[in-house]
């Protein structure tokens, strides 16, 4: 367990010292969201109608943007090979890296979202569910993303490839995330949507590290 904590701390420290990651993700989230009113027009009713979708889609793209760096730096400087010799199983290491990745991307995204929702005139009923759905959904994005990041290690055109691999797999999270917010605005129960988001997370939690570790092993072969 202490090895797990050390790994999380190491990744967090690296992310914070290098500075760029969390700021870049949140920056992209803010900029992309702000572009929408210019694209679709400033009518409050229209913005309120599509706010949930805009926020979730841009948050998803922002999370996608940071995925490439999940294993890339460690793979290039060889520390991934050193890490794979640790007694801690590779699956647990993937989990630690996902946790660190979520802390510097998913968490700040969830924290920024209400502010942007204000700009997009999101209905007052939706704020709590917006944060809740992002908190439940973004860990799943990090976990599934780890599989893609591990698979595309050392590939040509890694970034575009990663988006192509990940977008189909992200669709369920997007559907239930937006569904929860729209249900709360419409006055319906949000329980089913949030439970399904939780189910996706509960499924991804054991399965994604397994697949990602298998992918890392064959990248290290």
């Amino acid at each position: 367990m202490s090895a797990f904590r050390l790994l999380v701390q190491r990744d967090l420290r690296l992310a914070l010292r290098q500075g760029g990651d969390a700021a870049m993700v949140v920056g992209f989230f803010v900029l992309a969201t702000i572009l929408f009113p210019f694209g679709v027009g400033p009518e409050p009713e229209l913005l309120a109608r599509i706010a949930a979708g805009i926020l979730w889609v841009t948050a998803l793209l922002a999370a996608l943007l940071s995925l490439e760096r999940l294993f890339q730096a460690d793979w290039e400087d060889g520390s991934l090979e050193a890490l794979s010799l640790m007694p801690l199983p590779l699956e647990a290491q993937v989990l630690a890296k996902c946790l660190a990745h979520w802390l510097v991307t998913g968490l700040p995204l969830s924290a920024t979202a209400p502010l942007l929702a204000l700009l997009l005139q999101l209905d007052a009923a939706g704020y709590k569910v917006l944060v809740a759905s992002l908190l439940l959904g973004t860990p799943t994005l990090s976990l599934i993303g780890a599989v893609g990041a591990a698979l595309s290690l050392g590939a040509r055109r890694g970034g575009v490839l990663l988006s192509l691999l990940m977008l189909p797999l992200y669709i369920p999270v997007l559907i239930f995330g937006v569904g929860a917010i729209e249900a709360s605005i419409g006055g319906f129960g949000v329980g089913p949507h949030l439970l399904l988001l939780g189910a996706l997370l509960a499924g991804a939690l054991p399965l994604a590290p397994l697949a990602a570790a298998a992918a890392l092993r064959q990248a290290l072969e």
Partner: protein, 253 residues
């Protein structure tokens, strides 16, 4: 189960060269008969009119699209677990064919939608699922071809195919949840099919024809891959032989 009996490429080449003409002739005959029945014999639908004939290509293509993905995932699992060399080749050879069937399904569906719904594209549940499946195929193909070392691409693709097959039901379910206005499935359901025998027969023949067509192309593609590998080995040994005979010349060239 002794899979390694079939792992021998030489045995596969013998077996496939015997099977290939039968598969090819069967596919041509069945698709020919099926198309004739579908286009000339089957009656027009009382609601859909002549446009229903698109369904005789659309439905088999849709079934093949998911069937090929399942086969690809199965071959990938065999390749990962038993390191079966032919399974890798089978998965790699099946992927472009599956993507082709998926594209055919999307195009024919779009043509049918234009006649029936008055629009080329509707974001309904089944269309959207097939579109997502198409992107899964494209992702697989992009990943497999993204590495300089071919073995690496095959192994990465195998893992991706398994991740995809686990996710497909979830995607299907979520997309169904998201939206549906498509007509419910009408061939396979409890209480027998709801389509008339005059239309069911051409459809069944077309499905069989598509399967044999796929088998034929798959065998051809697998054989080509094996032959390519053999040619590469022969060329390399030729170069080595030349290099051994006249070392200086080989270095100069």
């Amino acid at each position: 189960m002794n899979l390694h009996r079939f792992a021998n490429p030489a045995r596969f080449m013998r077996l496939s060269s015997a099977l290939l003409p039968w598969c090819g002739a069967g596919a041509a005959a069945l698709i020919g008969i099926g198309l004739y029945l579908a286009l000339f014999i089957a009656p027009p639908d009382y609601q859909q009119g002549e446009a229903v004939r698109i369904m005789f290509v659309h439905v088999p293509a849709a079934w093949m699209a998911s069937l090929v993905y399942a086969l690809m995932a199965l071959a990938s699992a065999i390749a990962l677990i038993w390191r079966h060399p032919l399974a890798d080749i089978a998965a790699l050879s099946a992927a472009p064919l599956g993507a082709g069937f998926t594209l055919l399904c999307l195009v024919t569906g779009s043509l049918w939608g234009e006649r029936m719904w008055g629009t080329w594209w509707v974001w309904d549940a089944r269309l959207t699922s097939v579109l997502v499946l198409f992107f899964l195929y494209l992702g697989y193909l992009a990943l497999v071809n993204a590495f300089d070392e071919p073995g690496r691409g095959a192994r990465a693709g195998a893992i991706l195919a398994l991740v995809g097959i686990v996710n497909l039901p979830i995607i299907k379910f979520s997309v169904d949840w998201w939206n549906t206005l498509h007509q419910p499935a009408s061939v396979f359901r409890l209480g027998g099919p709801t389509i008339d025998a005059s239309m069911l027969w051409p459809l069944a023949i077309m499905v069989l024809g598509f399967m044999l067509f796929f088998a034929t192309l798959l065998l051809v593609r697998m054989r080509t891959t094996l032959i390519e590998a053999k040619i590469r080995v022969l060329l390399l040994s030729e170069i080595e032989r030349h290099a051994a005979a006249s070392p200086r010349q080989a270095v100069a060239s």
